[in-house]
């Protein structure tokens, strides 16, 4: 029925990659609870962007690592799809998957803007 060659590797990546990313994120948030961040409710409106690793907030490097892992799993799906399609001889969808991956990754270039 669903003969798409990308499905099986995708399920593996999504199941284990997501669990690992959530665990890292959860550890960071626990650390944050434990150490108490230096921001109160009344100061939330003054929050400014906090680039990686955002050392001022306890647990931040772990939270950000978990978030990067989540984003990598999501974008990594396209690499897996590309490999699966190309191995199955489907060059059109292999190319489309690579194109979509390049678009997702091009977001990193905004750092240079």
């Amino acid at each position: 029925m669903n003969a798409d060659p990308s499905v099986r590797p995708l399920i593996l990546l999504l199941t284990w990659g997501t669990r690992l990313a959530f665990l890292i994120c959860l550890a960071g948030v626990f650390w944050m609870f434990w150490a108490r961040p230096p921001v109160t409710m009344s100061q939330l409106h003054t929050l400014a962007p906090c680039p990686f690793p955002c050392g001022a907030v306890p647990g931040a490097p772990l939270v950000l690592a978990g978030i990067v892992a989540l984003l990598a799993v999501s974008a990594g799906r396209l690499v897996l799809c590309a490999v699966a399609y190309l191995r199955a001889g489907d060059q059109v969808f292999g190319g489309i998957s690579i194109g979509a991956f390049v678009l997702v990754m091009s977001a990193i270039l905004l750092r240079l803007v």
Partner: protein, 276 residues
């Protein structure tokens, strides 16, 4: 009370309500973060995009395992949405907070309208598909329930649908919402997919465009871990509980209650736009 705890609890409530209302956690969470907690709008949008990505990938494996999501169609439709997502991020950064809150108020109005639209849910046979869909092998089949016979379906109007999908991408990049509000009606009415396939494929696509938007905000330093960490965990947990409870809760009265909530959020975002 601690900031992370309040964010965790409010995002759990938003994830729960988003699923029950069928609009996604971001639509509820952003007005809560911006209007109630006073978090700057770009940080709220960035945190919401990470949460949408997390929600999408945590649900995607279930849709793939059951064979309902059409991966080829999802990737193809994502192309236009991805370009628009990056455009939405740049537009949001350039235009400032007031434009984003005004656009969000518009999205809430659209959400209210969508909540009262019926679904067509009639699909076409694979052989009646668009020639481009046939050439790309997009028609597929799915099982309505485990053990049921496969139901083949075709795909219509591929290129126009790709064009409209850019709106979903734009809303993701600019407003931090998943885009399902646009994607599912487009798949239902333009591509003419079965509703289960539309929902599952939209979930797959949402993870891609929100990942692009979240990566862009991360590169710009707007993914603040104090906000994003609790929000990601809270929305995913709340959505899981909402998915389990939703089938037992739907009723006409609850629909009116949610309408009231959406109207209140619309007023709040409009007020925020006016007052800055």
């Amino acid at each position: 009370m601690d900031v992370p705890l309040i964010l965790l609890m409010s995002s759990m409530a938003a994830g729960f309500l988003g699923v029950i209302m069928g609009v996604g956690g971001g639509v509820v969470m952003i007005p809560m973060m911006v209007g109630v907690l006073g978090i700057p709008v770009h940080l709220a949008v960035a945190a919401s995009l990470v949460a949408v990505t997390a929600n999408s990938i945590s649900g995607a494996s279930i849709f793939l395992r059951t064979g309902v999501a059409n991966v080829r169609l999802g990737i193809l439709m994502s192309l236009g949405a991805l370009v628009a997502t990056l455009g939405g991020v740049l537009l949001g950064k350039a235009a400032g907070g007031r434009v984003v809150t005004a656009a969000f108020a518009g999205l809430l109005l659209f959400t209210i309208w969508i909540m009262f639209q019926g679904r067509r849910n009639t699909w076409v046979a694979p052989e009646d598909s668009d020639p481009l869909a046939l050439r790309l092998g997009l028609p597929s089949a799915y099982r309505a329930a485990p053990g049921d016979p496969p139901l083949p379906y075709g795909v219509l109007r591929v290129l126009p649908a790709m064009g409209v999908m850019t709106l979903a991408g734009l809303s993701a990049g600019l407003l931090g919402v998943g885009g399902g509000l646009v994607q599912v009606p487009v798949m239902d009415r333009m591509l003419r997919l079965p509703i289960k396939v539309s929902t599952a494929t939209s979930n797959f696509m949402m993870g891609l465009s929100s990942a692009a938007g979240a990566t862009a905000y991360l590169a710009l330093g707007d993914v603040h871990p104090l906000v994003a960490g609790p929000v990601v965990l809270g929305i995913v947990a709340g959505s899981r509980v909402g998915s389990a409870v939703a089938p037992r809760l739907r009723s006409r009265h609850i629909r009116w209650l949610f309408l009231g909530l959406l109207v209140a959020m619309f007023v709040q975002m409009t007020w925020k736009t006016v007052t800055g």
